[in-house]
Amino acid sequence: MKKLIIIPAFNEEKNIDFVMDDICRRAPGFDYVIINDCSRDGMRSLCRRRGYNYIDLPVNLGIGGCVQAGYLYAQKHDYDIAVQFDGDGQHDAAYLEPMYQAMTEQNSDIIIGSRFLQRQGFQSSTMRRGGIRFLAWLIKVLNKKEIKDVTSGLRMVNRRVIDDFCRYYPNDYPEPETLALCLRKGYQADEFPVKMRERCEGRSSINMPRSVYYMIKVSLSILIDHFKN
C-alpha cells in the first residue's frame, strides 16, 4: 500500500520544519509531498535547502487548485491512499497511522479527522462551531449521513476518491463541498476522533468579514452539488 501525505502550503516558512519533523517521526510509513502555492516568504528556498519533496506551483491557485495538484501527483505516482495534511502545524501526524487502520477496518472511502467526536484539543470559536454545525446539518439533510466536522482539512481518501478529486475539486473553501460530493457518489465516509492544535504561526484564511461570504458560498455549493450528477 503506497500512502501519500499532501501538504498544501502558502507562506508557511515558519511552520513547515515543525510539520516535517512531526511527519518524519510519527508517520514513517507515509510518503509526503509539499505543494508550495507560490508562497511569498522563503518557503521555496527553505524546501530546496532542506531537500524536502516539494512541488512548486508557478502561479498562486488558492487552496483548491493547490490540493488538487497533490491529488494529481498521487494519481500520477499510483498511490493507493492520499491524506491532506495542513502545512501550518494544526494537525498531528501521530493520528495518520491509526486513521489508516480505521479506514481499512471500516472499509471507508474517505475518513475525516474530526475535532468534535471527543471534544478534545482546539475546538475553534463558538461562532465558527455554530457555522460548522449548520453546514453539517445541511449535508445531513441532503445526503442522509451525519458527519460532525465537515470543515476539517485532515482527510484520508482511497484511489476512487483520488480519481474523482483529480477530475473536479472546487477552488475556494473546498472541504464541505467535496464531502457532499463523496456522499452523493455513494462513497462511505467516516470520522476519526483527533485532537487539533491551534496554528502556531500565521492566521487562518477565514476571518470575520469573510465568514458571511464563506457561509453563503459553501451552503450554496453544497446545495448545487446535490443537483449535479
Partner: protein
C-alpha cells in the same frame, strides 16, 4: 426618436464598428468573440435608420417613448454579453488551473530526474 438622436446613434455605431474592424485586423480581438458585437451594432444601426420598426416594438412592449425601447433592448444585449464573458472567464480559469498544475508536475518530474542519485541520501524521509 428625433432625427438628431438617430444621427448620433448611427454615428457612434459606425465609429465603434470601425474600431472593431481595426482591432480584428490587428488580431487584438478574435473574430469569434467580436461577431456578436458586430451583429448587435448592425441591429442598433438598423433600428436607428428605420424608426418605424422600433415604434412598432415599443407599442408591443407597452413602452410609451420609443427611444426607451432602444435602451431596453441595448441593456438586454449588454447583460447577455456580460453573462457570456463570465462563462468564458470561468472556463478559462479552470483551464489555467489545470495548466499550472501540469506545469508544476512536469517541473517536479524534471527536477527529480536531474537530481537523481546525488540528492537521494539528502532527502529527509519519505520518497
Amino acid at each position: 426618436m428625433s432625427i438628431r438622436l438617430r444621427l448620433v446613434i448611427l454615428f457612434i455605431c459606425v465609429a465603434i464598428l470601425l474600431c472593431f474592424m481595426d482591432m480584428i485586423r490587428k488580431d487584438k480581438i478574435s473574430l469569434k468573440y467580436s461577431l456578436p458585437w458586430l451583429l448587435s451594432l448592425v441591429c442598433v444601426m438598423l433600428l436607428a435608420a428605420f424608426p418605424g420598426f422600433i415604434n412598432w416594438v415599443a407599442g408591443l412592449l407597452g413602452v410609451a417613448t420609443p427611444v426607451n425601447a432602444v435602451f431596453f433592448i441595448v441593456i438586454l444585449m449588454m447583460l447577455a454579453f456580460i453573462f457570456l464573458i463570465s462563462m468564458i472567464s470561468s472556463r478559462n480559469s479552470q483551464r489555467v488551473t489545470r495548466l499550472v498544475q501540469e506545469v508544476a508536475l512536469l517541473k517536479k518530474a524534471l527536477a527529480d530526474q536531474e537530481g537523481k542519485g546525488q540528492k537521494d541520501e539528502e532527502r529527509i524521509c519519505g520518497i
